[in-house]
Symmetry: C2
Subunit: 249 residues, 2 copies
């Protein structure tokens, strides 16, 4: 596999891409997803873990809302990982995520994930490089465990925005009353570390790639949601699921 070089990937839809046609297509895909999720739940054989990573204001919350609101919440759980609690820190870094991996029939969505443990922690010098390398190996082993032993399909998305778009979004949070609650005074300090984040993100993509990353151009919400919904739809279709018959006993 060609290594991922983040700077060479556009953060936007290709020039001339039809926005309105794409929005209509997305609507159809969401209807398909609703059916497919019902089937996944009924068949109770596979599980799906969808991981979203991305810089602040890259639209992780928004894509979860846009893509997963169409599905029956009985079969969906969204987990947002924040700064670890004292209890979480007293275990290994995978403990808190392993607790909430999806059982059969379910789709679990991670809004941030165990990848923060080799991202924000490295940017802030909280772990040294040797520890990071050990964590990378542990992450690969963990994802293999879920894939091989829990019949879990893992989808990893990086929401790829430009720093300019991020700044616009952060400024929006300061101005728009319905978004103020999302603003954190440290957001701009974090943004100042952009290049360091990109370096470690790139390393994550290229060293944790047994399950490949999807780099999603994310400056435009409509394009981002369309891509994520399409990949999820194709993945679910690929499971070749069917409704089970009547249970015995």
């Amino acid at each position: 596999m060609e290594p991922i070089s983040i700077k060479n990937i556009s953060t936007k839809a290709p020039d001339g891409w039809d926005k309105e046609a794409t929005k209509l297509k997305t609507k159809d895909i969401l209807a398909e997803l609703n059916e497919l999720q019902n089937l996944l739940y009924a068949e109770n054989k596979h599980s799906v873990l969808v991981i979203f990573q991305g810089m602040d204001a890259s639209g992780k919350d928004g894509v979860v809302r846009d893509v997963f609101t169409s599905m029956n919440p009985t079969g969906i759980r969204v987990y947002s990982f924040k700064v670890p609690t004292e209890e979480e820190l007293s275990h290994d870094f995978l403990w808190r995520v392993h607790k909430v991996t999806p059982p059969r029939g379910m789709i679990h969505v991670f809004n941030r994930s165990h990848y923060e443990d080799i991202l924000v922690t490295r940017v802030h010098g909280m772990i040294d490089d040797a520890t990071a390398q050990k964590r990378i190996k542990a992450i690969n082993d963990f994802e293999q465990l879920l894939t091989e032993h829990a019949n879990t399909t893992i989808l990893k998305f990086y929401l790829h925005i430009s720093q300019e778009e991020q700044h616009e979004q952060l400024v929006e949070r300061l101005k728009e009353p319905s978004k103020m609650w999302k603003y954190n005074s440290k957001d701009f300090d974090e943004s100042a570390q952009w290049d360091t984040y990109m370096k470690y993100y790139e390393e994550a993509f290229n060293s944790c790639n047994n399950i490949p990353w999807h780099i999603i151009p994310a400056d435009q919400n409509w394009y981002k949601s369309y891509l994520v919904a399409t990949i999820l739809r194709d993945t679910l279709k690929g499971l070749n699921m069917k409704y089970p018959g009547i249970k015995k006993g």
Copy 2:
């Protein structure tokens, strides 16, 4: 409060009730719910626990799908309570539900609940009456704890179907391939205990009524979903929520 007598409550919409107009109204209410849930999450002050009880095939899964699919799954968690596990049984009966009560900002939906511990358990003679009475007191105390100490608003719905409608639905499960997975060979045995269930349900409604029960005529899906959505919308509106400003610090 007038005691609830289940036999005197219709399982259907009033005669002449306009089905198509109701469906349109429900659509509008779902759009309102989407907004209100976003506000609940943003304000992060209240939490909501929605409990659904009802006989097999009364449409608990369906109403969860119809009413809650419109909301961002980041702020919704649905918990279906099945036969307790060995670990759950080695604790008090409220342990497994208390673990998953909603934190601030969240709506949790219970598909069946701690009420099963004074319903199915009594129908099958698994607990005696003295134990049932103690459990009723414990349930009242528990619901008061959540209301007073966790700022949780509790909504309790009983999906009220006729035994005839239940039989139609169960037969449908035997015939329709996409529903067969829901069929359980014990469903008809349980149905044969209808009157005993009703007796214990009625006692639950009348002895656990500090937080009142909503008895929802449930033979028609469109009417049931409309009523549940309306009550939820009015409840959320009544919280007088507002978007918080920018966090300090």
